[in-house]
Amino acid sequence: MITVKEVKRSLLVSLWFVFLTFPLMVIKVNPYERTVSWRWSNMVYVAIGTFVISLLAKAWFVRKERRMARQQDSCHARIPIIQRILQRPGYRYPLAAFLLGAVLAFPHLFSTYQANIMTTALMYIVLGLGLNIVVGVAGLLDLGYVAFYAVGAYSYALLNLHFGLGFWTVLPVGGLLAALFGVLLGFPVLRLRGDYLAIVTLGFGEIIRLILENWNAFSKGPSGISNIPRPGFFGLEMSLDQAMIYMYYLMIGLLLVTIFVVNRLQDSRLGRAWLALREDEIACQAMGIDKTRTKLIAFSLGAFWAGLIGVIFAAKTTFVNPASFTFMESAIILSIVVLGGMGSIVGVILGALILVLLPEYLRALSEYRMLAFGAILVAMMIFKPEGLIANVRRIYCYQGRKSNTALKNDE
């Protein structure tokens, strides 16, 4: 299975890594004592480690290629296992019931701290699902998604500060305001695609952040707005722990609603129009799809969810300032969508869980945390470039006359 050529290649890889990491791993300079110590053992570890990893990766690719070759004629096998399980009603409902039970029991099984982290993860899932409408389904690369999140957060902060409006009143208002901003951004960028769209949306995100940072009279500038009330529950007094758990269940509820809506949207006429728009604009127009309207709806719906989560974010942290809405946030949400697999709901959920929970649970590695995180991301993109859950709808294939109906019974 492993040929001499591959061993040679791995040797080269390991030599290259030794060279690259030499100054960092081997030489240790102590400026006080003016001594240099050479840690040769580190070099050996790096060499052996990279050699083995490179060989394993190669072996994995070889196996993958063989598997692909075997599956040339049977396209069923290419559907990811999770999707196959989900497609079978016999598995689907017990699995869903189990998941729901686990999710509901979570805050009682683990500490409030864990529930809190999980709430954050849930928020990112919903953000990911919102951005997925824009990027994954409609194919509009939006790098300024965090702007709508900021609009939501600040609408709660400001409306509460000036008018004393409560969480439940502002929740829809924040969403709608964000949707309005989505339309505002949508109009000028209707004619743009791909890279150009990405640049303009990136600029839009920064503009919103800079306004919040510099317009002191409006948004209190970099110092932000504090003492934002947590969501109320029929006027009940809650301890901090209870409030956290309440927040958790709130997010579960919102997530379920979001999944339901997004799922329905993808199967709707509008969902079809988005897919079509992603594929070919001219053909869309020739089919009578209103390009302007379809794009604007995608932008504003995506923004709506960001706005909702913005309001929840403000309520959860009880404090907002512009530092929470940097480009980094947009990048993370976009990574969730890409990593999970564009257009796939299950993929986005997994992507968000990995991207949010992994850095938390990698804390055990202390200073190597971000290094390990980066390495895992790179590895995932190498081994599964189409995302964790590739969107299955692409893999129908010709199976001859008889087995056609078995694939998808839509007639």
Partner: protein, 235 residues
């Protein structure tokens, strides 16, 4: 059915159409022939509103449509099969066809038309779960035409359906164009470089050169016109 009056279209500074006048009657097959870059595709794009009409009028059954957006024009019964087919490559054949019927809500009628296009092109029925991009060129052209038919247009605009296809497939496609015109009484405006085939199935024809209509006549007369024979039929 359709009338273009002094239509001018330009891309920036390039004027692609200069005072184009033409008329298409209901139930006809009319062809527009011309060399590369003469402005054939631009004419179709202008009719469907994808490229804006700079000056002049476009009348559909007496109603001015030159200022309408493309989706409104499709809703009025004009459907275009764009040059180069433009099928949705990642969607299945069936999904492509469904998108053709995007503006329609009559489920029964859609189902009936689906059966109809499957009967016109049985290969599409066979491949309905295959993604559009994996079809051969000829099959893609069939899909593009079927998708347009799913909108049940009164006026079908075809942009070079024979482009890049084998002679046998071209023959089949042209026979079906004729059949669509006969069976459904669909008016057809056919843009072609393949002047010979187009003039054989058309009732009338126009010749376009550098954005101007230079000749208009019945198809038979154009076939026998010495200038046309020399320039477009290679005789």
């Amino acid at each position: 059915m359709l009338e273009l009056k002094n239509v001018q279209t330009s891309y920036g500074n390039i004027q692609a159409l200069q005072d184009v006048n033409l008329t298409i009657h209901a139930g006809e097959i009319v062809t527009l022939i011309g060399a590369n870059g003469a402005g054939k595709s631009t004419t179709l794009m202008t009719i469907s509103g994808i490229v804006p009409c700079r000056r002049g009028k476009i009348l559909l059954k007496g109603q001015e449509i030159q200022a309408l957006s493309p989706d409104k024009i499709v809703a009025l019964g004009v459907c275009q099969v764009p040059e180069g087919r433009h099928i949705f490559a990642d969607l299945t054949v069936r999904e492509n066809l469904d998108l053709g019927a995007f503006l329609r809500t009559d489920k029964a009628g859609i189902k009936q038309d689906l059966e109809y296009v499957y009967s016109l092109f049985p290969i599409l029925a066979e491949r309905r779960h295959q993604s559009g991009g994996t079809l051969s060129g000829g099959q893609q052209q069939m899909l593009a035409m079927s998708r347009a038919l799913m909108a049940r247009p009164q006026l079908l605009l075809l942009d070079e359906p024979s482009m890049g296809l084998a002679p046998l497939v071209i023959k089949q496609i042209f026979e079906i164009i004729k059949a669509i015109n006969k069976e459904h009484n669909t008016t057809i405006f056919l843009v072609e470089q393949n002047a010979h085939q187009a003039l054989h199935i058309a009732d009338r024809g126009y010749v376009i050169e550098n954005g101007r209509i230079i000749l208009a006549d019945s198809a038979d007369k154009l076939l026998n016109n010495p200038d046309v024979q020399k320039a477009y039929l290679g005789i």
